[in-house]
């Protein structure tokens, strides 16, 4: 426990919770002025078509309409977080300052216009008056079709298979020669929708300093600002991004939604002499249709081992369905690539991973960022190997797991602090106690069983990188002000300035606690100013399980600088710091050799479930979710992340079934796309939290918010096999899929 009241290790109550329980917290879309104008974003509704003509004159003339924006209004008509491959507005008559052809719609949610009107209804009504002629282009519905390259979705790339990574390690042929057993599987992984409760919304205006200002929800204020500035052709300091309270993100708000078009609307209104705010809020349907998903993927994997269980070789082919645009697919692919061989010592490997464009919803960031797909194949292969060898799955991991000093799959030594052995032991120990589990029939929210109820247990373990990978210039800035009288020995009050995005996870509370700890000032005397590019420095994104790790290190640096200023007599004493972690490397294009990450978190899960073989309904009775978090800055928030991630993964594994037909999402509602409700969740989630310091983490902390998600699906699949003897290589495990699987044997 900390010596500072409310410091690191305290389960303090988050400061923003009071406003959230009383209704006073202000989210984007709350407190919109009565005189605000309302925008409607017009989707193309065309998964692949070339625009021949666009007529917005009737919309412009419609009642209440102030402005209709089209492609011709966008100074630089392109954007994209890690690859600029998408027009801001699909259309005709652009400025020719973008490399991306703007006349082709590649996605049903490409925008073709933004209508600004006095009321939301008038904007929507005017949008229906827009006339477009389209020339239909052929769809590329599947990864298989995309690979054929007979239709190119981005002809400028020359192929749909636009991004590829390789690993060639050791001698794979020799690895197969020394294998006594080989397991092989092809895994089909589904899309997943983020389904944050707060849909996309934004307000934009010109602030008193003349900056184009957007208030919205996102994950990285400064990245939003950079992309807005690029598209509007403005210097970055002429753009301001503010995050209000946010109703969830999970990676789904990492890319642009309304940011650029709303900034464009405010900028255009200024030129018209109109100083009213403009506001837009998507409907749930617009949100589900209009933002990226967890990637659909096909993974073929082959694993060889000796009869004693020692891995001799791994081969894998990973295909990620990037959909219509890259979003962060190239980076997600990297992470799937690194995790598809598992957290094990693998002497010989050949791994080829590719992202392909299709006429589907874009894939992008979502909690785990490629880790869940890679780990599903890796862990299911390990569980199949254990079954083949008739070996305890935990013991099989112990034989092969990464340890301190192990060489990773990219042929370099893992960053120090590999605690997988301790994590696996702690999970196994906890899972073997506290039996028996509640009986299936006692779960009253399920129907009475119609067939034999079978029980099973599954296990999975893994790792996830912390922070941005592959040579990205990682950084995080913090600013700390120490207040007090000139002759005070110690400051009495602290202000911390930070951009870290509070998406719901509690990062602002963690930042306050770390500021208290770093300065020795009690938590109740720490005030925060957050997520406004006019006042707070670049923090990087709230993603990649990085924010606590990066923010903590930036706060330590800023506190040290402020402390120096304090000793020199400055009041308030101001410290600014830009933290940069050890550099990472791009992988060698042929061999995949390199050091892609600077830190990892380690996890293991054991799952008990019951399945009604008459209906195919699965009940997860107990989850033991084990994590080395290095140091729990706030143990209550850490457990909240574990429980939330487990249930999100539970939906991914059991019920969330996004249907994409001919390039269109067929079930864009929460009544047809089923996320878990309170009656659908695992009966018991036991969080086992280890605190084994990361050598580079602030106070030893590791990243942890994605890790409980990653191993869940393979552990459930293993438990279902344990119960029924059937391997399922596809999910979600809807009752009909389970029944069909049970009948097929």
């Amino acid at each position: 426990m900390s010596a500072v009241e409310g410091g690191v290790g305290t389960a303090s109550i988050r400061a923003d919770a009071h406003g959230k329980v009383t209704g006073l917290a202000r989210y984007p879309g709350d407190g919109v002025p009565l005189d605000a104008l309302h925008a409607f974003t017009v989707f193309s509704n065309q998964p692949h078509a070339r625009m021949l003509s666009l007529d917005v004159s009737a919309a412009e003339a419609a009642e209440g309409v102030v402005l209709v924006l089209t492609a011709a209004d966008v100074p630089v008509n392109e954007y994209g977080l890690t690859k600029m491959d998408q027009p801001v507005l699909v259309g005709l008559g652009g400025t020719d300052r973008s490399a991306v052809p703007a006349d082709v719609s590649r996605w049903e949610a490409d925008h073709i216009a933004v209508v600004v009107a006095e009321t939301p209804a008038q904007a929507r009504n005017a949008a229906s008056l827009i006339r477009v002629d389209w020339e239909q282009l052929p769809l590329v519905s599947t990864i298989e079709e995309a690979r054929a390259d007979s239709v190119l979705l981005h002809p400028e790339d020359g192929t749909n298979v636009y991004y590829e990574l390789r690993i060639v390690k050791g001698d794979v042929d020799a690895g197969w020669d020394s294998a006594d057993v080989v397991v092989e599987g092809t895994y089909e992984l589904p899309h997943q929708e983020h389904a944050y409760l707060q849909v996309e919304a934004a307000s934009a205006w010109i602030d008193p300093e003349g900056r184009v200002t957007v208030e919205t929800s996102g994950q990285w204020t400064h990245e939003d600002r950079e992309q807005i500035a690029h598209a509007l052709d403005l210097p970055e300091d002429r753009v301001r991004v503010i995050y209000a309270a946010m109703g969830g993100a999970f990676g789904g708000k990492e890319d642009m939604s309304l940011q650029i078009v709303m900034a464009l609307a405010a900028q255009k209104l200024r030129t018209m002499g109109i100083s009213r705010r403009v506001h837009c809020r998507w409907s749930r349907e617009e949100s589900i249709v209009g933002h990226h998903k967890r990637h659909r993927a096909t993974i073929h994997a082959k694993l060889g081992a000796t009869k004693d269980g020692k891995i001799t070789a791994v081969e894998a082919d990973v295909w990620l369905d990037a959909g219509a645009y890259n979003y962060t697919s190239n980076k997600v692919l990297g992470n799937a690539h690194l995790s598809v061989a598992g957290a094990y010592e693998v002497p010989n490997a050949r791994i080829n991973s590719r992202a392909v464009y299709t006429s589907s919803v874009p894939g992008g960031a979502f909690r785990g960022f490629g880790g869940p797909q890679g780990a599903f194949a890796a862990e299911t292969q390990m569980n199949k190997l254990a079954a083949t060898l008739n070996m305890d799955p935990v013991e099989l991991r112990r034989i092969n797991m990464l340890r301190d000093g192990s060489e990773g799959i990219t042929q370099t030594i893992m960053p120090a602090g590999v605690t997988l052995p301790q994590v696996i032991d702690a999970c196994a120990r906890k899972a073997n106690t506290a039996l028996p589990i509640a009986t299936f029939a006692s779960i009253a929210s399920l129907p009475e069983p119609e067939g034999e109820v079978k029980r099973g247990r599954g296990f999975a373990a893994g790792f996830k990188n912390v922070g941005f990978s592959f040579g990205f210039p990682e950084r995080c800035e913090a600013e700390i002000h120490l207040h007090g009288a000139a002759d005070d020995d110690h400051p009495s009050e602290v202000e911390v300035f930070h951009s870290g995005a509070e998406v719901g996870q509690g990062t602002h509370q963690a930042i306050r606690q770390m500021a208290a700890e770093a300065t020795g000032v009690p938590l109740d005397q720490v005030r925060g100013t957050f997520s406004d590019t006019a006042f707070t420095g670049d923090s990087g994104s709230a993603s990649a399980s990085r924010m606590t790790w990066m923010a903590g290190n930036s706060i330590l640096g800023a506190a040290e600088e402020a402390e120096k200023a304090w000793r020199e007599g400055q009041r308030p004493a101001i410290g600014k710091f830009r933290f940069t972690p050890p550099p990472t490397e791009r992988l060698d294009p042929e061999t995949g050799r390199g050091t892609p990450n600077f830190a990892y978190g380690y996890m293991a899960q054991a799952i008990d479930l019951s399945v009604d073989t008459g209906t195919g309904i699965i009940r997860v009775d107990r989850v033991v979710s084990t994590h080395d978090v290095g140091r729990a800055v706030n143990p209550q928030l850490v457990k909240g992340q574990v429980e939330g991630a487990v249930v999100q993964a539970h939906g991914y594994t059991l019920s969330e079934d996004l249907k994409v037909r001919d390039g269109r999402i067929a079930n864009p509602r929460l009544s047809t796309y089923l996320i878990p409700g309170i009656g659908d969740v695992p009966e018991v989630v036991d969080s086992v939290i280890l605190e084994l310091a990361d050598p580079l983490g602030p106070w030893g902390a590791r990243g942890m918010a994605e890790m409980p998600y990653i191993t869940y699906a393979p552990a459930v699949i293993a438990a279902l096999h344990d119960a029924t003897g059937v391997w399922f290589d596809q999910f979600p495990l809807t009752p009909s899929r389970v029944l069909a699987g049970l009948k097929s044997v």
Binding site: V21, T22, Y27, R281, R284, G644, V647, G679
Partner: protein, 158 residues
């Protein structure tokens, strides 16, 4: 467009309002009365973020005509606390850590209030049924469950 003039009582305060007769209660509470604690998450009775009480009964305000609320007492999340004094379910949610992004929280609170008035000593199953119309994507529900149970104990004194 038919303008409807009426008085709606929200959290004990009468508001004289004129709005289009087709408007739903959620939009009138948020935009005419100006109380934005009640959230819009789906527009169609799927998520429960817009839950309010009408004479103590939980209702998805997104799918209820505002005009129909005439003569009923409307309670929103802003009506539960008095001054600095939080309602027990609000305080228990803070203590249990049942609030993350907070967007589902107002609806959860209203459903819980209705549940505990109806069933002061609920079983786990009663709670699951009482909150089955409220989706949360952050917490996994465990700490919400814990907070509801603690509130029931506190309010029923058992």
């Amino acid at each position: 467009m038919t303008t409807y003039s009426t008085t709606l009582s929200v959290n004990g305060i009468p508001y004289s309002l004129a709005f289009d007769a087709s408007r739903n209660l959620l939009s009138v509470i948020r935009n005419e009365v100006g109380l934005t604690g009640t959230k819009e998450g789906c527009d169609d009775c799927e998520c429960g973020a817009c839950m309010v009480l009408l004479d103590g009964h939980p209702v998805n305000s997104c799918s209820y005509l505002a005009a129909q609320a005439t003569g009923k007492e409307i309670t929103t999340v802003e009506g539960l606390s008095s001054g600095d004094e939080l309602h027990p379910i609000q305080r228990q949610l803070l203590d249990a850590g049942g609030v993350q992004c907070g967007f589902c929280t107002p609806g959860m609170i209203m459903s819980t209030d209705a549940l505990l008035r109806r069933t002061p000593e609920p079983t786990d199953e009663d709670i699951r049924i009482g909150l089955s119309g409220n989706l949360c994507r952050c917490t996994g529900y465990a700490k919400i469950m814990e907070a509801v149970k603690a509130t029931a104990v506190e309010l029923s004194g058992s």
